[in-house]
Amino acid sequence: MEQNEPIEQQYIRELKNSSRKAFNALYRMYCARLYAFAYQYTKSKEDAEEIIQDTFTKLWTYRKSIRQEESLASFLFQIAKNLLINRFHSVVNSPLFEEYVVAHHEAVCLETESASSRLEFEEFREMLLVYIRQLPVTQQKIVYCRLFDELTPPETAQKLQLSEQTVRNQFSLALKSLRRYLLSKNLLGLFFSLLYVIKT
C-alpha cells in the first residue's frame, strides 16, 4: 500500500483530468476490496455489485471534486457509506435474516455445523426458495409473504384472505419443517465437505 501511494496520487491527478485509463486503474485497485467489504454487510453478491457500480459511477461523476491530498479509499467510503448502511439495516431487520440466525443457532447447538460447512445467508436464502416449493400451497404463500415480502401476520392474513391465527399456525409449521430440512442438509453438507477434505 505504502509504495502504491505515489502511483495512486498520480492516477487521481489524471482522473481529475478525465483520464479513462486512470479510472480503469483505480477501479482495478479498489474494486475487489470494496466488493469484499460491502459483501460483509449486504450478505448479497447482487447488492454488493450494485454498490460497486453505483460508487464507481459516482466517482467518475464527482472526479473533479476529489481533493488531491485525500486518499481515494476515504473518498470511496464517503460515496458508498449511505447505500451500505441502508442495506445493512434492511438485512438486520429482515425476518428472513432472523430465520437464518435461528436456523444457524440450532445447528450450532446440535453441533452439526462446523466452520467449513457454515452456510452463507445467501445460500440459505436460495435453499429456502428451493425448499418452499415442497410445502403445501398455503404455507408457500405464507412463507413468501412473511419472509420475502416482509409482511406482518395481520398484513399476510389480509392479503391471503386467511385468519390471522391460521397464518401464525401455518407459518410456524412451515418453519419447523424448514429447519428440519436444513439440518439434514447441513449433515449432508458436512459429509460432502469431509469427502472434499479427504480427497485433497
Partner: protein, 322 residues
C-alpha cells in the same frame, strides 16, 4: 455494538444477540455506525478468501457512466440550442424583413417577357391568361398592379392571346398608340414597329379597340386593321385561314422578295447576303413556308427562283445566281 457487528459479519450472531443489535441500531445514532464502518474500512484488506466470486463487470460500470454522461450532453445541447435561439432570433427577424422588402422590390419591378429572332415563347400570366409570343415580341406588365383593378399589359410584336374570362377585371393591352380592351377572348394581335398597320384577328368573343380619338368594337371572326399612317380602323370578315405562325408556318401573299427575306431573317435569326441577286427584289411570292425548318425553306426558294445558296457561317446565308 462493534462486537455485534463483527459477529454479524462472521454469521455468528445468536437470536438474542440479533435482537440486541436490532435494538441498538434502532436507538443508536447513525454516526456511531458510520464511525465503526469507517474504522473497519480503513483497516480492511480483502484477502483472497473474500474476493468476489465472479468478476465484476467493469463494462457495466462504464456503460452506466456513459448513459449518465450522455444525459448530461443532451442537457448541454438544450442549453446550446437556447443560446443559438437567442442569437438567431434577431438574424431571423432581420432577414425576414430584408427578404420581404426584396420581394416587394421584385413585385414593383416590371416583368418583361421577350423573344428574339427565331424564338417563340409561351407564357401564362398571373390571372391565367396564356400568351404565345411570335418572334421579336415583347410583353411587359407590373406584378404589383396586375390583376388588381385591371389587367394591364404593354405589348409590341405578335402574339396569340387566350385571355382568362373575368368580367370584373378588364384585360387591357397598350401597344404603340392604340388600346385593346377585352373581358375574355381569343385573338391574334400583331403590332410591329416596322410595319405600317396593326392587326387584330378575333377568333372568339368581343373586344374594344381604341386609338387616341377613335374606337371600334370587334366581334367573332372579324379582323381589324389599324393604319398607323392615317390613324383609321378598318374591319373585314376573317379570311377562313388559320393563324399561320401558330402552325409553325410563314404565310406570304404577293410578298416582294426583299420583304420575304426580311421575314425569314426574323423567323430564323439569320442574315441573307443577296447583292448578287438584286434583280429578284421586285419578284412577288405567295404561299406558305415552314417556320421551323430552314433547310427546306432554302430548298423551296432555290427551286422557285433558281439560285444557289451557301450557309456561310452559322447565321449568314449567301445567295448568288446559278
Amino acid at each position: 455494538m462493534k462486537d455485534l457487528i463483527e459477529k454479524y459479519k462472521r454469521n455468528e450472531l445468536t437470536p438474542e444477540e440479533l435482537q440486541t443489535l436490532r435494538a441498538k441500531m434502532a436507538a443508536g445514532n447513525a454516526q456511531d455506525l458510520e464511525g465503526i464502518m469507517r474504522e473497519d474500512w480503513e483497516g480492511f484488506q480483502s484477502g483472497p478468501w473474500m474476493m468476489p466470486k465472479k468478476e465484476i463487470d467493469y463494462n457495466a460500470v462504464w456503460n452506466e457512466i456513459e448513459r449518465k454522461t450522455i444525459k448530461n450532453i443532451v442537457i448541454n445541447w438544450r442549453r446550446i440550442l437556447s443560446y443559438a435561439a437567442i442569437f438567431l432570433l434577431p438574424i431571423l427577424l432581420f432577414s425576414t424583413f430584408y427578404f420581404y422588402r426584396e420581394a416587394r422590390g421584385v413585385m414593383t419591378q416590371e416583368m418583361i417577357v421577350q423573344t428574339e429572332a427565331g424564338e417563340h415563347a409561351n407564357i401564362t400570366l398571373p390571372d391565367g391568361t396564356s400568351v404565345n409570343l411570335n418572334v421579336r415580341s415583347r410583353l411587359t406588365y407590373n406584378p404589383a398592379d396586375f390583376n388588381k383593378r385591371t389587367r394591364r399589359i404593354g405589348f409590341i410584336g405578335e402574339g396569340y392571346f387566350q385571355v382568362a374570362r373575368n368580367e370584373e377585371i378588364p384585360f387591357i393591352i397598350s401597344s404603340q398608340n392604340i388600346q385593346l380592351k377585352v373581358l375574355g377572348t381569343e385573338f391574334n394581335f400583331r403590332s410591329r414597329e416596322n410595319q405600317d398597320n396593326i392587326e387584330v384577328i378575333l377568333e372568339k368573343g368581343h373586344v374594344l379597340l381604341s386609338s387616341s380619338d377613335k374606337y371600334i368594337e370587334l366581334f367573332e371572326n372579324e379582323t381589324a386593321i389599324y393604319d398607323k399612317q392615317t390613324g383609321t380602323f378598318s374591319v373585314e370578315k376573317q379570311k377562313d385561314e388559320p393563324i399561320h405562325w401558330l402552325q409553325k408556318e410563314l404565310y406570304f401573299q404577293n410578298t416582294p422578295f426583299a420583304d420575304l427575306l426580311k421575314i425569314l431573317e426574323e423567323a430564323y435569326n439569320v442574315r441573307f447576303e443577296w447583292q448578287a441577286c438584286e434583280y429578284l427584289a421586285g419578284d412577288r411570292f405567295s404561299g406558305t413556308l415552314p417556320s421551323s425548318n430552314l433547310r427546306s425553306v432554302l430548298e423551296i426558294l432555290r427551286k422557285s427562283y433558281g439560285f444557289e445558296y451557301e450557309v456561310n457561317t452559322a447565321r449568314v446565308i449567301v445567295i448568288r445566281p446559278e
